[in-house]
Symmetry: C2
């Protein structure tokens, strides 16, 4: 699966900015791949791109219409259908991360088939997967892990990729969730693969590479989340990460969606991730922390970051504020020993 850019971002009738979170992520992290946004009457979101019609988007070079809006239940709204059908007529492929599949809506599937257009349902992996093997491979990898779900793992991986690229390093963001895939143009939604293949899917997503190339792998969930920890562990083993960045939302009072489940401490979370990560890469270690401090004011954020550094002895930043990603990239480069020839030694 390779989603062709440039993109026109479809915001539909998004009720508010949050409903256009996906479009917002793409516009924020890949503005160079976007030509504009398309909003229907009643849309209350704006991702800062020029408003274009489908025809204007095509004239500006757009090749894919990204469904960048989500409504309750992840359904594809009847209100959007006319736009989607016309987009196919005009030459667009369409990509969506919604639960509902574009390819299972007969009108869309027939029109796309007749015209030879692509419909990309990025939530559903299309590749034939194999089970993981855990054998060392060349190239270096960083995985973002978390105390919980939804605490900044995708943003942190993207921010470090941007920083490394700005420094002229070889770096590739590897997407493991719907929004990440739409940002990257490719990837595998690991929480949607058959459970036997979690590690194998992650291995195929992060293949052997140049010795000085970094994959920045988007983490999912948490080893401490009672609902999703299996996904997190398969990702950790399959990515064979050399480096981990622990992501945390310091105002969170309990695990997301589970009022009875407390958050782990940073120390516990570092220890268990390193221990499990070392099964497939004995060098695996946490090199820093990324706190999502968006719910805190400046002094509050500063206190949270200092407390995290005091507890762990590691650099703690907000990767999306004031040079935070630069400090993580510094830690990564400081800790990056020269690679041994080709592959790392096998664990024994």
């Amino acid at each position: 699966m390779r989603i062709e850019s440039p993109y026109l971002l479809f915001l539909g009738d998004a009720a508010d900015q949050l409903a256009a979170k996906t479009a917002d992520g793409v516009a924020r992290w890949r503005p160079d791949r976007c030509v504009g946004q398309l909003r229907l009457p009643g849309c209350h979101a704006d991702v800062g791109q020029p408003d274009l019609t489908l025809e204007q988007g095509r004239r500006a070079g757009a090749r894919t219409l990204i469904v960048g809006v989500a409504n309750r239940g992840g359904e594809i709204s009847d209100l959007w259908m006319e736009t989607l059908l016309t987009a196919l007529d005009l030459g667009y492929d369409i990509a969506s991360g919604l639960h509902d599949r574009l390819s299972r809506i007969p009108r869309l599937a027939e029109r796309a088939g007749a015209l030879g257009r692509g419909l990309f349902d990025v939530r559903y992996p299309e590749v034939e997967l194999e089970v993981g093997h855990g054998e060392p491979r060349s190239g270096r990898r960083l995985l973002t892990v978390g105390t919980d779900c939804s605490c900044g793992k995708m943003f942190t991986a993207l921010a470090i990729e941007r920083e490394l690229s700005a420094r002229g390093r070889k770096a590739t963001f590897r997407a493991t969730g719907q929004t990440g895939i739409l940002i990257a143009g490719s990837g595998i939604a690991v929480d949607a693969v058959i459970s036997d293949f979690i590690a194998g899917a992650t291995e195929s997503l992060t293949p052997a590479n140049d010795d000085d190339h970094w994959d920045l792998v988007e983490g999912q969930g948490s080893l401490f989340h009672p609902s999703y920890a299996g996904v997190s562990l398969g990702l950790l083993h399959g990515s064979m990460a050399d480096a981990l960045v622990l992501c945390h939302e310091p105002t969170r009072r309990h695990m997301r969606g589970l009022p009875h489940a407390p958050l782990p401490t940073l120390t516990e979370c570092i220890a268990l991730n390193e221990q499990c990560g070392q099964l497939t890469n004995p060098a695996c270690r946490v090199i820093g922390l990324s706190l999502n401090t968006s719910a805190l004011d400046g002094p509050g954020a500063g206190r949270a970051l200092r407390a995290a550094e005091d507890e762990t002895g590691l650099p703690a930043v907000d990767a999306c504020r004031d040079g935070g990603a630069a400090r993580l990239a510094d830690a990564l480069e400081a800790g990056a020993r020269p690679p041994t020839v080709g592959h790392r030694p096998c664990p024994s």
Copy 2:
């Protein structure tokens, strides 16, 4: 999914006894549910049941034909088709744990549909799953965990269930793999569910129950297996096990299928399983070990069991030899504190 017994076990043209491993497991653990075996010319397996024709099986009361044979690739052989079609004509449902699905073979699907017979492809979960929530629920649970795949987790759970039932205790084997499901008549193949639902599938498989009821949950894989650990962790969290039994094959030199991957020590394996299990059940602990000593002679087995006891301080048995399951049941009952009223306290 509920597979109706009695069963007629179909051994097809099994090349050897190993090819009829599934039928062997059903005959061994549920002889009371079997009326006989059906073998085609060229079959070299025998699971010790009377040889019956399809007609004789029906007269003996059989309701389901169990495809108890596997060939390379998990395909449904053309050689079997005549038997399967006739079975449907005679009133049988058919159940299979093969990779190939009965329900996707047009001739079988049409015949079954026309006659109102059931085709059970137990490898593929049929239930609508939900994500796990990790909330305490009544009843008690034992999960078998392992240093590796294929080291006796199903056999051990079944042996403890048989022992507890013989003592008049309330006990139910909960199947999580194909052969286990055919033995139990129900279950969920957790390695075949979408990865977001591993823990949730396990929760639904082991629902709230009487305070003095034990679920004996079939484990899968190992937290230390680079290919499958995500499945193992989801099972551990979803089963909310009060008790674990660690299964081990003492002659194994490396992780199954991975010559480069060493086995963990028993001590490491106990520590990590208890730590992770305590996320959803703070009382979770390993109460004993079950070694598959079938590759050792008597003195060798004795030495292996003593070494395991010396290392761990826990009872170590071969659950399938000389009262081994009884010692595990003793350990379970000795450690089973009287339940608190209804639910255990929430972790905090």
